[in-house]
Amino acid sequence: MGPLSVSVDRGTLCLALNGDIDFVNSGPITQAIREAVLQGRPTLVRVDVAEVSFLDSSGLGALVAALRVATDCGAVFRVERPNANVYGQFEIAGLVEMFGLADGDGGRGCARR
């Protein structure tokens, strides 16, 4: 399984990232998310990061790039289910609100089908 899986469910683009997201794979991931958003034209983009073990600045950059492309397309962008460490990184980066995590529900993951 690659670090990114993508599924579309009626206007919602569900992305799931897993493993370490870092300078090694952030480029292709950014590109793949971008294409998925531009092709799917979703109204909601949900990124499940429950399986992400580590993010470096490039990995964070990939999420920001996803935020930007989703926002540019008029979609709502949400990052869901970060582990404590990853959440801590979002906090430091000041991205908790931007990632739709401020309401404190921790995000419910994409529905498994």
Binding site: D20, D22, F23, S26, S53, F54, D56, S57, S58, L60, G61, V64, A65, L67, R68, A84, N85, G88, Q89, I92, A93, G94, L95, M98
Partner: protein, 632 residues
Amino acid sequence: MSVEQHHEYRQRLAALDETVARARLDPEAQVHRAAGLLAGRVGCRVDEAHTYLLDRAAQQGRPAAAVAGDILTALQSRPGSGTRPLDAEVDTALRPRGRSPAAGRRPPAHPPSQAAGDWGPLVQQILDAMPGNHMALSPVLGDNAGITDWVIVAVSQQTADFSGRDVAQAVGRRITQVYPATVDTPVWQAWRDVVTDGRARKVGPFPYVGANTRAPADVLMTAWVSRVGPGVLSRWVRHDEQTRQTERIAQTERLGRLGWGEADLVTGQIVWSDELYRIYERDAALGPMSSEEQNALTVPEDEPIRRQAAEGFGRGDTVDVTVRIRVGGRVKHVRTIADAVRDAQGRPVKVYGIVQDVTMQHTTRAQLAEAEQLLQQHQNSLAAEHELAAQLRQIVLPVPAEPFDLPGLRVAVRYLPAEEASRVGGDWFHAASAEDGSVVLGIGDVAGHGMHAATVMAELRHVLAGLTVTTTTDPAQLLWHLNRLLYSRATTATAAVARLDPQSRSLVWAQAGHPAPLHARAGATTELTAPRGTLLGAVRAACYATATVSLAPADLLLFYTDGLIEHRRHTLAEGLAPVIATLNDISASGSRQPLADLLSRLRRANPDDDTCILAVRNHTPEAPDHSEGDHA
């Protein structure tokens, strides 16, 4: 299925086995295939089966491929043929942690029953020559002359195989020990009745719940019982037998993308298995292709290979050849292993072939090679890029070797490039007096590595320096401008910026997604509470708040980039702990050169990342201290 058909069927299977054994792949692929087959058989995930295989190999101290080979041989040999590796391996596979079911259940040795008399060996001789499940039984009489049990007098090879025992092990045993589930079934009753009235009977189909763990939980059986000598002869058929065999073969074929075919050169009849139709994408209703039709599919480039193999086959060799065929508009890699039954003159009478679609293997291999090549190119270009990035960094951001003074502060900087040259990135610092008499300090980290990061770093740093001269020294406003710049570059970066008023000793600072500076005073270190601020370049209209801290004489402040503390297997707090401990130590020590001590003692946590450290010490104007410069 008639006896004859059954026999042919088994022959075909045997041929299949042999050729499959020959079709063994390279060791790694073999382990993968064994894991796949095992997973299919056991109903677990392939990776679990894989792990199990490796475990077993380790236990046995043998190469994984050897164990995989055994399992492949075992799983692919025909069921019921009595090959012990099949039974042993599959049993072990089915219950990897348990004891061997056969060993656990085996009853103690039982002396051959007197009731067997002399007719046992004779019946055994007959049964040895007969296909099917047969058993000759002799009644065991209880105290009141009623039949309480049966002793196995003779048993056919196939039955013995099925129960996992050989003939010698079964003969002489009691039914209640060997097949306790039989007690009080319709067949048990029929044995009694036959002994009583001598009339042969058919029983069933009746459900039989096997106590043997290898048998399915519930099997339908039909039994025929007739009187022989002083006992009975019982024959039975498992109604799922043929289905089981067929399913197993189909599964093997499907998993291995393996089809088989045979051609009878005497009758001209050709038979294909289902998978072979799938490989050739041919409607089974059309029947098998002739060998001419098959050969015509070979791509022209591979035609010489095919022809050479065909010539070898003519000389009596076994064929093992992989050629590309064009089927359904696509090219497939197909491996064919063919062997023949030959007559006394060596002329082939019947040809058996195993055909395997190895396109995936070839594609994967080709893709791997391609990826490797790309990686190599990538690395070459990275190496060149690093050279440039390092040069650029040297021009843009010369790191002072010694601590230096600014109004009210002594400043020391350390830059630790990533160990791997290609990962040298976009860490930067800024420490300079501004026009308004304040001192502006900054540190930052551009996401990513290499030329792009280095270029953005250079830009950020120049813009910051320019802004402090022309526009503002307010940290929040400076970050607001830097955010606009980064947003337009579609790049993210983190930064912390501070302004010290040398007169009031008050330090105002702001941050954009950056770790807060550490503040050490007299042996106690705290992480400054960060004001709100988003990563630079994430959103267009980011706003930054500021916080203020008053510096006392000899206070130490440490700005750093996350390479110092970030490590992928540690939490940030775990990474921070040793840094805080070092700061505590040094600020408590009263060292005359605390900055030099600090920089020499700090070790970055993450060798993958570059790290920048900016340490400042509050100068006490009352007692100017020049010792630092002398020692660092």
